[in-house]
Symmetry: C2
Subunit: 225 residues, 2 copies
């Protein structure tokens, strides 16, 4: 989700293919995608997202590397990682789940009612990742998430709606990625409508900035086995 944000700002057309969790490794391996890490047992770990660029005939994995690849391969598009901020952007990406993970258990507790791929739900269940929370605990988590965004917004340039003020960058793709998941889960709810008013409507304006740009996703092609 986060790099589809970058692709839209860059005006680069793309198609999305969805993979069930269990298919990530075999598909990535068969395509020759670079693994993004190592599993505890020492074997390579493959993760989504990865992209295939038909112009250069290249596969690129790892969100940060993808954005960097797009910056250097398409230098006439908006730069998402201003070179001077490269380490700062990377630390922001690495830190976001610590800073903004308050809703993660609430999100997981709502998986069973969501549009999630059935095989992924089964996996999530088998891994014991589903949580059940009381209404009170959910409320508390939303409050903490709001506080975390308050804290974040306090330091962002007022002019907004981007982390660097008027200049969009990789950090916004990271924030958008998280918020777009929440929208997917909660779009019609009061919680989401409320979130759109937080911090002076900052996140509503982020979505508006994204949506004001031409759609670059060519078609929704789902590949579910």
């Amino acid at each position: 989700v986060s790099f589809s944000f970058a692709l839209r700002f860059k005006g680069l057309a793309y198609k999305t293919h969805w993979l069930g969790y269990a298919d990530i490794e075999p598909v990535a391996k068969s395509l020759g995608v670079t693994p993004t890490g190592t599993k505890p047992d020492g074997t390579p770990r493959y993760t989504i997202p990865f992209i295939y660029d038909s112009t250069t005939n290249k596969f690129v994995s790892n969100s940060f590397d993808i954005i960097e690849y797009l910056d250097s391969t398409y230098p006439n598009t908006v730069t998402f990682i201003p070179p001077e901020t490269r380490l700062l952007q990377n630390v922001f990406e690495q830190s976001q789940s610590t800073l903004l993970g308050q809703l993660d258990p609430v999100f997981r507790s709502h998986f069973p009612n969501s549009k999630i791929l059935p095989q992924n739900l089964k996996l999530v269940q088998s891994l014991g990742l589903l949580s059940t929370l009381t209404k009170e605990e959910e409320k508390e988590a939303w409050k903490k998430f709001k506080n975390a965004l308050d804290e974040l917004s306090k330091f962002a340039k007022d002019e907004g709606p981007f982390v660097m003020g008027k200049k969009v960058s990789a950090a916004d793709a990271v924030l958008f990625g998280r918020l777009a998941c929440y929208r997917w889960m909660w779009e019609e709810t009061d919680e989401w409508k409320d979130l759109m008013t937080w911090q002076g409507g900052r996140w509503r304006r982020l979505f508006e900035a994204y949506e004001s740009l031409p759609q670059v996703e060519k078609c929704d092609e789902y590949e579910v086995e």
Copy 2:
């Protein structure tokens, strides 16, 4: 330590007063310093560092606020928080102990042999913060710290020695703050000499950049009760 780095780059003269841990709250209170947070029991928390600026007759607490205060009060000095990077700099500061805390237990295990104020040592002992580590565990921690700095350096601009390349910023003050503590503890050791060679001598060059600037600390005045 981190804002003395900023003061030196800014060329602003200062004196240091050291406070025993138990004196922080009463001294800060008596001077009217703004608390930087809230303790679990709901009462205000006072922390060091805080500064007193005799030019403006102001006290400022909290490292990030101090640097920001210096940027705005002395606009003709090097800007440590370029406005566009304000949130990124703040997240970097918040995340540094998670990203680079691998040596913390080793550091604490060496407290008793260090130049630490005796009353602080007593406090650290009473809080059970002292750790005892085997040589193997220490070695492992140093290795992990090196890996973390490798990871960090991978994303920093090559030209260095600063996080933003040739431009010094608050993130460097944060890194310098941690490394200067390690130098204070380990200056004469092989570990420190080794660290100075890591990542192509990146940290040696950071210290050199700092030390090549005129000393601005007016005198070492210790206030130990």
